[in-house]
């Protein structure tokens, strides 16, 4: 190999010889490498001409690339930049337009019309699922079931604290909710809280001590406990207060289903009565637009029915 090179006259060495005979060739760069290098230089030139590139004084070269979008009803053309590109894409990108057609249809339709239209419902389900995952799932869980019973309401049962009509769900999403029950541990003693827990469990057919439940009933329906103000005398709850229906077997705060025996079930209810409930859902009107909220209302309703 080395001998072949030495025979050709084009090959030179760097002029140094180490250990007497060790020399270093000084071959020209490979062609493919050289041309790649030139190509990158050409690419840079095109880039400088097309895109914003070099700073000059207190501004910069804007490039000849441009973006056109609509601003306040007028066509505006500006030098290429990602912000203008985003505006253009949000106005007339192919995906945007496809979605826009559906969004306009949904925005104009009533809840009944959407629910009865298979096409609009398919769109609502797919976009609703994405919106729910991005915005609601952190608290309510993917699919509407929170990781634990307690802080965040389950949306897949058919009990609705604040109402399950489309308009009511919409109102909940727009304005958020403050779920509040006072901590009765501060005004009632342990015995009374225990009696109340027995009565509350008896409302949904729980296995309880009848005497304690009877004493609890007096507290519930009387001035001292005052539970009936929000949960109503029948215990069915009041949507305007977000007060839970206590007569069904659905528990949104007390972890009754997680308890294994009667004592555990009583304790779960006692804990909630003693500590009260402080739940806060933020409003979404600034984050989501009315059509997105409409879609979500239908999606959330469809989770529970």
């Amino acid at each position: 190999m080395a001998e072949q090179h030495q025979q050709g006259k084009a090959v030179q060495t760097t002029g140094h010889a180490w250990d007497g005979d060790l020399q270093e060739f000084n071959n020209p760069l490979p062609r493919w490498w050289l041309w790649s290098f030139y190509a990158t230089a050409v690419f840079a030139l095109i880039y400088w001409i097309w895109y914003p590139a070099w700073p000059i004084a207190d501004s910069f070269t804007k490039g000849i690339g441009s973006v056109t979008f609509e601003r306040n009803g007028e066509e505006v053309t500006t030098h290429w930049n990602t912000r203008a590109e985003l505006i253009e894409e949000m106005q007339r990108g192919s995906e945007t337009l496809k979605q826009q057609a559906y969004l306009e249809k949904v925005a104009a339709a009533s809840y009944d019309e959407i629910v009865n239209d298979a096409d609009m419902m398919a769109f609502t389900r797919s976009l609703g699922k994405v919106l729910f995952a991005d915005n609601c799932a952190a608290c309510h869980g993917v699919g509407g079931m929170p990781a634990q019973i307690g802080q965040f309401p389950n949306l897949i049962d058919d009990a609705w604290l604040w109402g399950g009509e489309f308009e009511q769900i919409q109102q909940t999403i727009v304005g958020g909710r403050n779920g509040f029950m006072p901590a009765f541990g501060e005004v009632l003693d342990d015995r009374q809280v225990d009696q109340l827990a027995h009565y509350v469990l008896s409302l949904s057919g729980g296995n309880v001590d009848a005497d304690k439940a009877a004493a609890g009933r007096i507290l519930f329906q009387g001035q001292e406990g005052g539970c009936h103000y929000c949960h109503t005398a029948s215990g069915k709850g009041l949507e305007s207060q977000g007060a839970a229906n206590l007569t069904d077997a659905i528990w949104t705060v007390a972890d009754v289903p997680g308890a294994t025996d009667d004592r555990g079930r009583i304790d779960a209810v006692r804990k909630v009565i003693a500590n009260g409930v402080q739940r806060q859902m933020p409003g979404w009107s600034e984050r989501l637009d009315p059509t997105q909220i409409k879609l979500l209302s239908i999606y959330v309703q469809s989770l529970g029915g």
Binding site: P52, W54, D58, R71
Partner: protein
């Protein structure tokens, strides 16, 4: 001496000097304009320095290394816009030292997480993420609820930030300038001499971590998270306005 390829290659000193010049051009062209091109920073209302409590929360955010998984920079792409909200503006991080931009996201971007979830959610989620999001891979940070917040050096922290340009007020004159710019209530919170009392007042103003009787690191961190991305009211501007700054 002829400045040929060969003479550069065999002359180490000359090669070092020329290499430095070539690299400097690349660096200077990128860095120097940032000091004098002002028209890339949007003129928007609402951006203000962090209050003492938020700033302590921010220090804890950095101490715990939240930035290794969470960026605070929403890029101007449709998918990010749909998921996280409006893209981040340069103006929104002008008081951030160090800024929390980034492109490596193991967790979601947090630039607009402020007021998206309740304080109770943040507290529960930070202490034990999987108790609210079962599929989460975020570590637990239970000690945030256990550690009392150390705010004894908050005034020094603010003075240090003032050196790099954050307008916390040390003198009466600076205080009055802040009243003009941020309003009287906020100017008080940004006053170094009232730092401890404003920190305590803000800690009491809301139930940050579910226990008002103790001031914990969780209080500060939740207060910080709840202000992220909420300072600018985007309904006041049309989108074309922001494109003017590019």
């Amino acid at each position: 001496m002829k400045l040929s390829h060969e003479s550069i290659e065999v002359n180490a000193g000359l090669m070092i000097v020329l290499t430095l010049i070539a690299i400097s051009i690349g660096g200077l062209v990128e860095i120097v304009p940032l000091y004098y091109i002002q028209d890339t920073i949007e003129k928007v209302d609402g951006v203000r320095p962090y209050t003492p409590l938020e700033q302590r929360g921010r220090d804890i955010y950095i101490r715990e290394g939240c930035y290794t998984c969470h960026s605070q920079m929403i890029r101007p792409f449709r998918d990010e816009h749909m998921r996280y909200g409006h893209y981040s503006l340069a103006a929104e991080s002008k008081y951030d030292h160090p800024f929390q931009w980034g492109s490596k996201r193991t967790g979601p971007d947090l630039a607009r997480v402020g007021r998206k979830y309740s304080n109770a959610w943040h507290t529960q989620h930070l202490a034990n993420p999987r108790s609210v999001v079962p599929e989460s891979i975020m570590p637990n940070y239970p000690w945030l609820l256990e550690h009392e917040l150390d705010y004894s050096d908050i005034a020094d922290r603010m003075r240090a930030l003032k050196v790099v340009g954050v307008p916390y007020s040390d003198t009466e004159e600076e205080y009055l300038a802040n009243v003009d710019e941020f309003g009287p209530a906020m100017a008080e919170l940004l006053d170094i001499h009232r730092a401890e009392e404003s920190l305590l007042a803000q800690a009491q103003s809301e139930d940050w971590d579910g226990d008002r009787t103790r001031l914990t690191e969780m209080d500060a961190l939740v207060a910080y998270l709840q202000v992220l991305g909420t300072m600018v009211d985007f309904s006041k501007y049309d989108e074309g306005y922001f494109a003017e700054f590019r």
